[in-house]
């Protein structure tokens, strides 16, 4: 077990559903309801740098991946959460990491995911010109 795996398991324990490590890339999967604690642990306790969040419509479900940089080691931790396509919402982490504010707004706008507790959840990129209910990154069924 690498040092990072150890520290992640130590701090997050049961919350980690899956963990895979290859070279300098660590991917873990957690439940969406745990995202605030997981983000807090990685950002505050591990001192990682917040990189961004990537979102995706995977048809059966939606997936968000929160990416963090471990700059002292040249590694990246990517935290995967799955969202039920009929309940597209998750807690905002912008209270812990100010840098997450914009990206959560962008995901809200492009994928239609709601971020509970976000201070300013409105479109970022000019969606007022698009059709009602148009989420560009969703797969059209």
């Amino acid at each position: 077990m690498s040092e990072w795996e150890e520290r992640l398991r130590q701090g997050l324990g049961e919350r980690i559903i899956k963990l895979s490590e290859l070279g300098r890339r660590i991917y873990i999967e957690v439940l969406s309801r745990d995202i605030k604690e997981v983000a807090r642990y990685i950002f505050q306790d591990l001192g990682a740098r917040f990189i961004t969040v990537s979102g995706m419509d995977k048809e059966r479900e939606f997936e968000l991946i929160y990416h963090f940089g471990l700059d002292s080691d040249g590694a990246v931790i990517s935290v995967r959460v799955k969202l039920d396509k009929n309940r597209l919402e998750i807690d905002s982490i912008s209270g812990i990491i100010k840098g997450a504010e914009f990206i959560e707004r962008e995901i809200y706008e492009l994928l239609g995911v709601g971020f509970k507790g976000h201070p300013n959840l409105r479109p970022l990129l000019g969606a007022e010109n698009w059709r009602e209910g148009f989420y560009p990154l969703r797969r059209n069924r």
């Binding site: 000019g126 698009w130 148009f134 560009p136």
Partner: protein
Amino acid sequence: MERFGILLVGSVRHADVILVSGALNKKGAKRLKRLYEQASKPCLVIAVGSCAVGQGIFRGSYPISERPVDEVLPVACYVPGCPPKPEAIIAGVAKLLEKLRGER
């Protein structure tokens, strides 16, 4: 560009030529039309760069206007390239001026 008698102005009301560069997005199309209408005529439009000439690499992308620039405004000169070299832009403007002088 000033060597060729071309001066950048801050307001469309003082412009004889409008240079449009880049892909038009849906927001931009309406405004561009309005801006052109405000310009005192005659006012020539030059489309600079492949995106202004014909949407270029962003064709089909959702925020990009379905109508290229020349369906929104009457384009008098097309300078393709991605990006067009500075020499190409000057050559395009010079050609346009030549053509105008010829027609007078």
